[in-house]
């Protein structure tokens, strides 16, 4: 009788009756062949592997991570509630001790969804990892969490949500933003003034394959995790680095993904992107599940797998080695010193930016003000205006907020005016107010 080395939980929710539109890459067919492969392999029958039915997240779960404009149900569908719910299910089963590791194979994905949500960006409306992380922090008191985003696209939404928070380390490995949506994720994006260095971006050159990718994991990601010592490691497990993916340019393989999972050894993996639905996903997912279960995955090979053809050039590998050195150097300087160098010393930090929602065709302008703080992650206030004529003010008070930041946040919310709606996301009291 086959037995998994660790007790693992799976949520498999292919949402066979939901799509953004019929010809969209993120459509009903996406997990069809994955289902075929994992069912045919009999993975759910292995002792120690348990399949769970996903929960539905509540609006309150979403409100811990987002300001949804005008509200949660307007910018989401039922499918989003299930998808985030699947991630939450894995978190709960893990914390209750029923499983040692979990993998939520759900759709739609979420890592491009930012703090403020006016609509869909990069097939994402709400950030399913962030919702899960906030559930883990508020309901289970988990202190330090590392999110490692291995989707081929930069996890700009997750980065945005944890930009100011030094307790949640965000590491994103992705195809260089100069060559792929969303065009961000450069090394210089290293976190906000109160969390400088706790956002780590590793933009990999196009055509990176197994050797370069795994080199990065072993020589940058793992040493950083060893330093940070998180209580939990979350993997945003996008599968679009695959050599057959139709919308990216990387050369990663099912074997590579399985090894990556083995090295990273995440507590919870959450499926993100991956659009090579027939040639990649069935094999990648089977490989990840076997790797998580501590079972032999050496036979999980794409029908046309040929590592020699996919191998990186010498130049590419050299570039990656240097990149990792730079990442480690920047990481070693994280904290107040790096913050002062990048942001200067101020009582309040302001920034303005514009955000494009490619899926829904919305443009948003944001002005943010953050209280500089060495005692907590710092309260901030966002003014956001979309070309759909919504003007909102969102105030965030962080978990474990210091009294000064708490007072500042409350004052901002009290005095909020000139907007259609104002929201207070008071994480210190697990409270969400609207006016």
């Amino acid at each position: 009788m086959l037995k998994a080395k660790s007790r693992i939980g799976l949520v498999f929710f292919p949402a066979f009756d939901w799509a953004i539109d019929p010809s969209h890459p993120e459509r009903e067919e996406r997990l069809l062949y994955t289902q075929d492969q994992i069912f045919e392999e009999g993975l759910m029958d292995i002792e120690g592997i348990q399949e769970f039915k996903p929960d539905l997240v509540t609006d309150q779960d979403i409100q811990r991570a987002h300001f949804c404009v005008p509200d949660e149900s307007t910018v989401t569908t039922s499918s989003h509630y299930v998808s985030a719910g699947g991630a939450k299910t894995m978190a709960r089963e893990l914390m209750e001790g029923h499983i040692e590791k979990g993998f939520a194979l759900v759709r739609p994905p979420g890592h491009h969804a930012m703090r403020v949500v006016h609509g869909g960006r990069g097939f994402c409306n709400i950030n399913i990892e962030a919702i899960m992380v906030e559930y883990l922090r508020s309901q289970w008191g988990v202190k330090r969490i590392a999110i490692v985003d291995t989707d081929c696209h930069h996890g700009d939404g997750t980065q945005d949500i944890y930009w100011h928070d030094p307790d949640v380390l965000f590491i994103s490995l992705h195809q260089d933003g100069r060559t792929l949506y969303p065009g961000s994720g450069f090394m210089e994006e290293l976190g906000g003034p109160n969390a400088a260095g706790y956002t780590v971006n590793i933009p990999l050159p196009p055509h990176t394959s197994e050797e370069g990718y795994l080199y990065t994991v072993e020589n940058a990601v793992m040493p950083i995790l060893d330093d940070f010592k998180p209580d939990l490691i979350i993997n945003s497990a996008g599968q679009d680095n695959h050599y057959t993916d139709p919308i990216t340019n990387m050369n990663f393989t099912a074997q590579g993904y399985a090894k990556l999972t083995e090295i990273l050894n995440p507590h919870i993996a959450v499926l993100e992107g991956g659009y090579s639905i027939e040639a990649a996903l069935p094999y990648v997912n089977a490989g990840i599940i076997l790797a998580m279960a501590g079972l032999d995955y050496s036979h999980v090979l794409e029908p046309d797998y040929n590592p020699a053809v996919l191998k990186e050039s010498k130049d590419t590998l050299q570039y990656i080695h240097k990149l990792c050195d730079r990442v480690m150097d920047q990481w070693s300087r994280r904290g107040p010193e790096l913050s002062q160098k990048v942001f200067g010393k101020k009582e309040f930090h302001e920034r303005s930016r514009s955000i494009m929602y490619d899926t829904d065709g919305i443009y948003e302008g944001q002005k943010e003000i953050l209280r500089s703080c060495s005692d907590c992650a710092g309260s901030f206030r966002i003014e956001s205006k979309s070309d759909r004529d919504w003007r909102i003010i969102g105030v965030h008070i962080p978990l474990n907020a210091c009294p000064a930041c708490k007072a500042q946040g409350e004052e901002w919310y009290e005095n909020a005016s000139g907007a259609d709606k104002a929201y207070l996301q008071d994480r210190s009291r697990d409270l969400y107010l609207k006016k």
Binding site: V11, F16, E278, D296, H299, P303
Partner: protein, 554 residues
């Protein structure tokens, strides 16, 4: 008239049914070494002076397959499998001679690697060298494309007495279960063949010319001849007989818990509007997970003969059975003794029961009658906990569409139907423990045999269409045809219904009132680039488990 037999581990229950109900009933001791003799004693026991020519149908359940798996007495089977990408197929090794050959298909049935026919020949030679006469042939994704299994089958011709292919036994995806099911079929085939021949001859000798059916794990039947094509389906037919026996007494449009309380174990199952809940994939027997369709049933080690002991001041019931109750000459006190003390069980040596319960009571600091009541209450509560856990498990089953997620049916039992030896005594207590209306099924002692007698023929068929690759297939039925690009869901459903109807008739179903339903119908547009390249359609149809109409009986 119909004869129904439920061949159980200890007893065989037999009934003779006429249009007006049960005409005769008997209970025989099962002789596991000679099941045919057991069946004949049962038939003789109910037939009496009745003209055997008046029997129109005989249905029997049998422990043959279940016992062969549990006792590991299957005949040696050689397995030849082809896998391709995924798990190492050697991890699924089963049988006396397991061989992996090259050759692979993908999830859509396309060939990734050609079958290594030389390797197949070599494997056959090695299996024959060992003197093995039965083989199982399985490839990964054979239910999408049976060609590799068929090629192996052709090569096996004349070399083996018994050959089973994976794609014919179920349309459900699960390679390890397909391997195990194929092995089980091949391994039990000879024993089942002998059994069926002996039963047929003996019946003929008695002048019974009626068709003989065998009960399956899914609560349906098939003819003795059809059973030879898939003898593995007869596993766990005992629990299915009980559930079928409860159906006539189950209210419509309600969720009902069925509890069959035996000497050693209690079997539990759920009926929704008179239809039993099935296992999602298939039966599990003796640790072997199979693809044989089966009722969802849970068996726990609690029954009338469970041993009563204590741990400190805590009462323990079961899970062992050391023998019958004290009052029936057994070695240790049991719940049956508690019933005897309370005057709920008559017959046997009440004094012996009293003595045993008195000792147990003293150790637990209770009066004899109080401890007896406590034993029965605890027994009911333990059964309740297990039954509710089973229901919770059914409700926690994963779903794969938004529709199922949001509109999903939640099982909520509204009544209890109790059967088995202590049914009448325990029904009120179980009802109280569960907070549900509860009653013992009429004829609770032989209700399982009635269930067997009235079970209808069931089967299922899976139809797959891939209009991009241009085929429509039902591998279980050996059906394969070209699919025009316009082939759609309606066509697939019509085909599935036609095939399932034909299959049911072949398995021995009565054409009158044959109820076919669609279990699953999924259609996916396959996009390549931004164009629709075709449709991927998957339909599964079945004849629902249920009872035949039989005059006034149901």
């Amino acid at each position: 008239m119909i004869i129904g037999l439920d061949v159980g581990g200890t007893h065989t229950d037999v009934v003779l049914l006429g249009p007006e109900g049960v005409l005769a009933r008997t209970k025989e001791v099962t002789d596991q070494e000679n099941l045919v003799d057991t069946v004949l004693r049962g038939v003789d026991g109910v037939l009496g002076d009745i003209d055997p020519g008046k029997i129109t149908r005989v249905v029997l359940s049998t422990t043959l397959t279940t016992n062969s798996v549990i006792r590991n007495t299957l005949t040696p089977v050689g397995m030849v499998v082809a896998a391709g990408p995924g798990m190492d197929p050697k991890l699924h090794a089963i049988g006396s001679s397991f061989h992996v050959v090259k050759g692979a298909l993908d999830h859509r049935g396309a060939e990734i690697a050609a079958l290594d026919k030389e390797a197949v020949k070599k494997a056959f030679a090695l299996i024959r060298e060992k003197g093995i006469r039965a083989i199982g042939l399985v490839t990964k994704f054979s239910v999408r494309n049976p060609s590799h299994e068929e090629a192996m089958e052709k090569a096996a011709k004349g070399l083996f007495d018994t050959v089973f292919c994976g794609h014919r036994l179920s349309g459900v995806l699960n390679f390890p279960r397909r391997i195990a099911s194929c092995w089980l079929n091949a391994g039990v085939h000879d024993a089942f063949f002998s059994f069926s021949q002996a039963v047929k001859e003996a019946f003929r000798a008695r002048g019974i010319i009626a068709p003989v059916h065998v009960l399956k794990a899914d609560g349906g039947t098939f003819s003795l001849d059809a059973a030879l094509e898939c003898p593995g389906e007869t596993v766990l037919s005992g629990p299915s007989a009980s559930v079928m026996g409860a159906i006539p007494h189950s209210p419509s449009a309600k969720d009902v818990l069925v509890l069959d309380i035996g000497g050693t174990t209690t079997d539990m199952a759920v009926l929704i509007d008179k239809v039993p809940v099935l296992e999602p994939l298939g039966a599990e027997v003796g640790g072997v997970k199979t693809l044989f369709r089966a009722l969802k049933s849970v068996s726990i080690g609690l029954g009338g003969d469970s041993e009563l002991t204590r741990k400190g001041k805590e009462l323990l019931i079961g899970p062992d059975r050391k023998g019958p109750a004290l009052c029936l000459g057994g070695p240790v006190p049991t719940p049956t003794d508690a019933m005897a003390v309370l005057g709920l069980f008559e017959g046997g040596d009440r004094a012996a029961a009293f003595k045993g319960m008195e000792t147990l009571g003293r150790d637990l600091g209770m009066e004899t009658e109080a401890v007896s009541r406590f034993v029965l209450k605890s027994l009911c509560e333990k059964i309740r906990d297990a039954a509710f856990a089973m229901v919770e498990g059914i409700n926690a089953r994963p779903v794969y569409t938004l529709h199922e997620m949001l509109e999903g049916y939640v099982v909520k039992p509204e009544a209890l139907l109790v059967m088995g030896g202590p049914a009448a005594v325990l029904a009120p207590g179980l009802g109280e423990a569960c907070g549900l209306e509860s009653r013992a099924v009429p004829d609770w002692g032989v209700a399982n045999a009635i269930g067997a007698a009235l079970a209808r023929t069931t089967c299922a068929v899976t139809v797959l269409a891939d209009t991009q690759r241009g085929f429509v297939r039902a591998p279980e039925e050996g059906y394969s045809a070209e699919a025009p690009i316009a082939f759609n869901m309606d066509d697939a459903i019509a085909l599935a219904k036609k095939l399932v109807r034909e299959k049911a008739l072949r398995l021995g179903a009565d054409a009158k009132g044959l109820e076919v339903e669609v279990l699953e119908a999924q259609e996916f547009s396959m996009m390549r680039g931004y164009r629709r390249a075709g449709r991927n359609i998957r339909v599964r149809a079945q004849v629902k488990p249920g009872l035949i109409r039989n005059g006034g009986v149901i």
